[in-house]
């Protein structure tokens, strides 16, 4: 046992060959564009520049989907005067992925002001995406002025309450949650009693080995409550998922990628396709961050998610629009 210590796994809670340190090491790459994939229980990370050297087989999982978020169609201020253009770039990026995704998750703030023409604009652009199925959850900008009536008219088919629902794909259970309705003064995002009860019933019949993906607009972990970056009753929702071996939580809202691992739950926030927001506490407010035009696309992005059956955690790849 002489020489340099090997990079060995110290704590393998998920029994998937990844310890927290290894995961964080991989995730440290994510902000700058990394690709993480699990093969044979081993997490491997590659920088995006090295991706072209990978065969499609190396990148392919049993399920492949893309998450996009915070399109803010209708926004036209200095931080990005062409949000339709950057959404189009995001779609081009999706269409150029080596493995065509099966579907797209949009984690809210589809529009900026809930205007019909803003919803129409996003639907129109997404028609050119390689994946035709888009699953939405609303952001607070999609339910302005009408308590989500228009959102539900457009996307509420087969949903419950304010628009929550679940579906299954190849053994993975997906749950779309709504945490932008009935917000209380001074509070954070909110799921509410009715939705939590529905969720408890929704997962009751699932075996604990079922991988679960939860997606919602506002983060379901406390990132920076001072800016409203959290959900008041998220602990109750996560409580219903405690017995599951693999839970992946995908959120938007904060216009930047962040990751956290807590037991069997991995939390991810996605980049926006419209404009960046400052890091927590690093500006007077979470308003749109103005950057030089040539830097904008390096701060916007899409997320590619792959799942290989038999593995615990999902492989998550964030890439910028550059």
């Amino acid at each position: 046992m002489s020489g340099k210590p090997k990079d060995e796994i110290l704590h393998d809670h998920n029994h998937d060959g990844i310890d927290r340190r290894g995961f964080l090491k991989c995730m440290a790459w994510a902000g700058t564009g990394a690709f993480c994939v699990i093969q044979g229980g081993v997490l491997k990370s590659y920088s995006l520049s090295g991706l072209s050297g990978l065969s499609p087989k190396q990148m392919k999982g049993d399920i492949s989907f893309v998450q996009i978020s915070d399109s803010h169609m209708g926004f036209n201020k200095a931080a990005n005067t062409d949000v339709a253009g950057t959404l189009k770039d995001a779609i081009d990026k999706i269409n150029a992925l080596p493995t065509a995704p099966g579907f797209i998750l949009h984690t809210g703030d589809i529009t900026h002001l809930s205007k019909p023409e803003e919803f129409d604009g996003v639907s129109q652009l997404l028609k050119s995406a390689s994946a035709k199925d888009v699953f939405y959850v609303p952001g607070e900008h999609d339910v302005i002025g009408d308590d989500g009536k228009q959102y539900l008219e457009r996307y509420g088919k087969n949903t419950q309450g304010a628009g929550w629902y679940s579906f299954d794909q190849k053994g993975v259970h997906f749950i779309g949650l709504v945490n932008v309705m009935n917000l209380k003064a001074g509070g954070l995002g909110s799921l509410g009693k009715e939705q939590l009860e529905w969720m408890e019933g929704d997962v009751k019949h699932l075996s604990k080995s079922t991988p679960v993906v939860v997606f919602a607009h506002i983060p379901l972990w406390s990132i920076y409550p001072e800016w409203g970056w959290g959900t008041d009753d998220s602990a109750q929702a996560l409580g219903h998922l405690k017995r599951f071996g693999s839970v992946t939580v995908l959120n938007g809202h904060i216009h930047q990628t962040m990751q956290k691992v807590e037991g069997n739950v991995t939390f991810h926030t996605a980049a926006s396709t419209a404009f960046p927001q400052p890091k927590p506490g690093e500006a007077p407010s979470p308003g749109p961050m103005k950057v030089p035009a040539e830097q904008l696309r390096s701060l916007l992005g899409i997320r590619d998610v792959n799942y290989v059956q038999g593995q615990h955690a999902l492989a998550v790849t964030d890439s910028t629009l550059e």
């Binding site: 002001l113 302005i144 003064a185 001074g186 409203g228």
Partner: protein, 117 residues
């Protein structure tokens, strides 16, 4: 002669002072029809001034200076603005005394208070 003019001057001054005091307290019918709105700015996700005390009948005028839309909703539902995009405004006249706490229902961390006397 000069002392009576002086006394008249004092009396006038006292009346003026009472009027000013009346205005500050929000009492005195002479100022009920004061229609100058009181401004509240929305900047960096903050209502400022954050707490405001005004006489009954005052109109408050909120203007959003952020690049993100906000609204103004009272907790007791007595008033609710439409969404205010950048540089848009909303006005509300407070006809009844009371303490009105309000917030932005899009960004509920943003709260403010109007005390109407």
């Amino acid at each position: 002669m000069s002392s009576s003019i002086f006394r008249l001057g004092i009396a006038g001054l006292v009346i003026m002072l009472l009027m000013v005091a009346g205005r500050a307290n929000g009492s005195g019918p002479a100022f009920m029809d004061d229609k100058t709105p009181v401004e509240i700015k929305i900047d960096n996700f903050v209502f400022s001034p954050n707490t405001l005390t005004v006489p009954v009948g005052s109109t408050i005028h909120w203007t959003n200076h952020d690049d993100i839309p906000h609204n103004v909703v009272s907790e007791d539902k007595s008033f609710k603005s439409k969404v205010m995009d950048t540089d848009e405004s909303f006005s509300y006249t407070f006809a009844k005394p009371g303490t009105y706490t309000y917030f932005c229902s899009i960004h509920p961390k943003m709260t403010g208070k109007i005390v109407v006397q």
